[in-house]
């Protein structure tokens, strides 16, 4: 099952939210509630957390780029990635 990681609604109203840093990479296992990215406005640092446990399938935003509330920035899968 796939789950989407979005910029949280509590960041609403904050102008110019920038995705500062990923705290995970593709293939990583993350737990529910774990911080997977840091975002910020000029005075506010925000952790973006995993909505469910899973494996990082895709990171959809680049560090240093602006993001919006509700924007999907990553995909998690409940299934481990296939061994190659």
């Amino acid at each position: 099952m796939l789950s989407e990681v979005t910029v949280p609604k509590f960041a609403e109203g904050a102008v110019a939210i920038t995705l500062k840093q990923w705290l995970c990479k593709k293939g990583d296992r993350v737990e529910e509630g774990a911080a997977i990215a840091e975002a910020a406005t000029d005075k506010i640092a925000i952790n973006i957390e995993a909505p469910a446990a899973g494996y990082v399938v895709e990171l959809r935003a680049e560090e240093g780029r602006r993001v919006k509330v509700g924007q999907v920035i990553a995909l998690l899968s409940s299934e481990p990635p296939e061994e190659k």
């Binding site: 949280p8 609604k9 509590f10 960041a11 609403e12 109203g13 904050a14 102008v15 500062k20 509630g33 911080a35 840091e38 910020a40 406005t41 000029d42 005075k43 506010i44 640092a45 925000i46 952790n47 957390e49």
Partner: protein
């Protein structure tokens, strides 16, 4: 909870523990008050160019330097400045971070108004200002939907310490204090009580005795 005069590191350990507590406990959170020994803090993405003295020169003046988890650039904390950190469940308050910061500034504006000081906001810069001088600085972090850090009000600090940095990375702006505005007779404790009263009104929350610390007047939580 009022920590009184305390080192930044020790106070941050307490702040982090309170943050963990409110992830578990019911209630809206708590407000932490502290006064720090001389310390310059660098926000998460601060520019080292905004330190105007070397680490050694600052150390010689008794100022420590810390990298901290809040947003914002460089700032100074020290005796005579009241640092206020609401540990607040924004999700339960159904409040966005921007709204939270604006309301926090409003609390300070209202507090100053009761002393006859007319503070205001400046477009594009957070905090509370008198003209182009900042009297209260804001920098926060949100983790698990709960706030950390907060606002620092210059009650009666030695403002010369701000000359060692470019506060918040803003050149051509100054700093001021309640004392410099002629309000010299207030203690930090009095300003704390005024803040609690204005915070309760602005945020629509009740300040109640913290059951974890019964009997301590300095210990409160939010309902």
């Amino acid at each position: 909870m009022d920590l009184g005069l305390i080192g930044y590191d020790e106070a941050f350990v307490i702040q982090a523990a309170l943050h963990e507590r409110w992830k578990r406990d019911e209630g809206l959170g708590t407000i932490l008050f502290q006064e720090n020994f001389h310390v310059v803090t660098l926000g998460r993405w601060a520019s080292a160019d905004n330190l105007l003295l070397s680490h050694e020169a600052l150390a010689q003046r008794g100022v420590t330097i810390r990298n901290v988890s809040r947003g914002g650039d460089v700032t100074y904390h020290g005796p005579g400045q009241l640092v206020i950190s609401p540990i607040l469940k924004l999700r339960e308050m159904a409040m966005g971070v921007h709204q939270y910061v604006r309301l926090l500034e409003q609390v300070v504006i209202n507090l100053l108004a009761t002393c006859g000081i007319i503070g205001h906001r400046v477009d594009g810069a957070t905090g509370v200002w008198l003209g182009n001088k900042k009297i209260a600085a804001v920098g926060i972090a949100v983790k698990s939907g709960i706030t950390q850090h907060g606002v620092a009000i210059n009650v009666c600090p030695d403002l010369s310490y701000f000359e060692y940095i470019v506060p918040c990375g803003l050149r051509n702006k100054g700093v001021t204090s309640m004392q410099a505005q002629g309000i010299g007779a207030l203690s930090l404790r009095q300003v704390r009580n005024m803040f609690l009263s204005e915070f309760s009104t602005a945020f629509g929350v009740e300040i109640v005795q913290d059951q974890l610390f019964p009997g301590r007047n300095e210990s409160c939580c939010l309902k």
